[in-house]
């Protein structure tokens, strides 16, 4: 339960980090918060020859409210984003989902961007990025002319596999602010609070002026190799925000996922959860949208 030997690099600037990453290529791994990577090292499930510690790159330590959303730099810890009122006002789903990530001590160190790059199929933030249609910024020494931008839909390739290439550093994630008249909710079931979810879901509901559901979308975790997006509009569209056919939305989601058995839950139970949690989250998201509309009025 001790990490294997590696060569440690601690660059002071992004440019320096990119040079090191270019040099070590396939043998390099970026260390940010380390809350997923260090367990893998301790258990000897990963043994990178070079570890590039980016914790000194102060230029990446940012949470910025931008006109169209929130930009989270690679060094922003979960706790910082969770407690950034401007960020969670603009993108409430960020705050809703981060509250379910592990525990305080993990959120104090783990980073939002690190969680995205790690691409754990049970992690919350990949689903948040997918649901909001966000973007990742990937810098490399080779790119030179600015970072490569990858849409969330193209970023998550498989379990623990993202589109980051050897030599690249994920410098930021962009979470678009949902439109006015929208609301969101995050719901998950875990064996113990703070554990990885057996099934989890984020829902975004947009209401029209008559407080009827205009559109509803979901992204589910732990029921597929990557977050599973599901459009719930067919089940909920045009219905009142407080009396829609939530169960129909649940049936739609349960039919859309293809979970597998593992030691924590059977596929059938995960599918059952996908239905129940979708109904619950859709109802909560619609109520949230109505509250925000009333607040704005």
């Amino acid at each position: 339960m001790k990490p294997p030997v590696f060569t440690y690099h601690r660059p002071e600037t992004v440019a320096e980090a990119l040079d090191v990453l270019a040099e070590v290529g396939h043998d390099g791994k970026v260390l940010a918060g380390g809350q997923s990577l260090v367990p893998l090292l301790n258990m000897r499930l990963a043994a990178p020859a070079h570890l590039v510690d980016v914790n000194r790159l102060a230029e990446l330590d940012e949470v910025a409210r931008e006109p169209d959303g929130v930009r989270v730099g690679a060094l922003a810890r979960h706790a910082r984003v969770e407690h950034d009122q401007a960020a969670v006002d603009a993108v409430p789903l960020l705050g809703q989902a981060i509250a379910d990530i592990a525990h305080t001590a993990i959120r104090n160190r783990g980073t939002v961007v690190g969680s995205l790059v790690h691409a754990d199929p049970a992690a919350e933030l990949p689903a948040v990025l997918v649901l909001l249609g966000g973007t990742m910024e990937l810098a490399s020494a080779a790119a030179g002319g600015g970072p490569r931008r990858v849409a969330a839909a193209d970023f998550f390739l498989g379990p623990l596999e993202s589109a980051v290439r050897p030599g690249e550093l994920a410098t930021a994630a962009l979470f678009p602010a949902p439109p006015a008249g929208s609301g969101s909710a995050w719901v998950e079931v875990a064996r113990r609070h703070g554990d990885y979810a057996v099934c989890g879901i984020g829902v975004l509901v947009e209401l029209d002026q008559g407080l009827r559901v205009g559109s509803a979308r979901a992204a589910l975790i732990s029921v597929g190799p990557v977050p599973v997006p599901v459009d719930l509009t067919d089940a909920l569209g045009g219905q009142p925000h407080d009396a829609a056919d939530w169960a129909a939305a649940g049936r739609l989601a349960a039919a859309a996922v293809d979970p597998e058995d593992d030691i924590h839950a059977s596929a059938a139970y995960r599918r059952h959860l996908a239905g129940v949690l979708t109904a619950r989250a859709a109802r909560a998201a619609a109520a949230h949208a109505a509250t925000r509309l009333e607040g704005a009025a």
Binding site: V5, T7, H103
Partner: protein, 162 residues
């Protein structure tokens, strides 16, 4: 046995130290082996149990998931730093004693550091909040009831002796 060593400066419980550590030396092992501060306990070594929790610049973190070399320049507080200024029991330690908040004591250092930091932001917690506060720490002995009572008692002691 010829791993390169990294000179690392740490301020632990207010005392500055300079250590020479291999890159893969976990902060928990650095505290225990290099500095002899064996109050920090290693349980699961993958971030789940919370026994190794220390405060890094005031914030609770798992010392089994941090490399000592990466902590260069940080201020660390361990359970040894949670004592009273006169060397006696600190408020959280006193509360755990008053309420029988421990049996074997293995997990206790992680609880004491976690609760010490948490009470700074939540000086007057409810029982439900106290439960949430210790949600990231595992205890195999107590069933948690007395630990929740200890959190509430520690808040009380803090209010009595500001």
């Amino acid at each position: 046995m010829s791993e390169p060593l990294h000179e690392t400066r740490l301020v632990v419980n207010g005392v500055p130290h300079t250590v020479q550590v291999p890159a893969r030396r976990l902060l928990a092992d650095c505290l225990r082996q290099d500095l002899g501060l064996t109050g920090t306990h290693l349980g699961c070594e993958h971030g789940v149990c919370g026994a190794c929790t220390v405060l890094v610049d005031g914030a609770p973190m798992r010392s089994c998931l941090l490399f000592a070399a990466g902590m260069d320049g940080a201020e660390i507080t361990t359970v040894e730093g949670c004592r009273a200024p006169d060397g006696g029991l600190g408020p959280v330690q006193q509360a755990f004693r008053d309420c029988h908040g421990l049996q074997c004591g293995f997990c206790t250092p992680g609880f004491v550091t976690t609760v010490t930091a948490w009470l700074r932001d939540h000086p007057d917690p409810t029982e439900e909040q106290a439960r949430e506060a210790i949600g990231g720490n595992l205890c195999r002995c107590t069933g948690y009831q007395n630990i929740v009572a200890s959190v509430l008692r520690a808040a009380e002691i803090n209010r009595e002796q500001p």
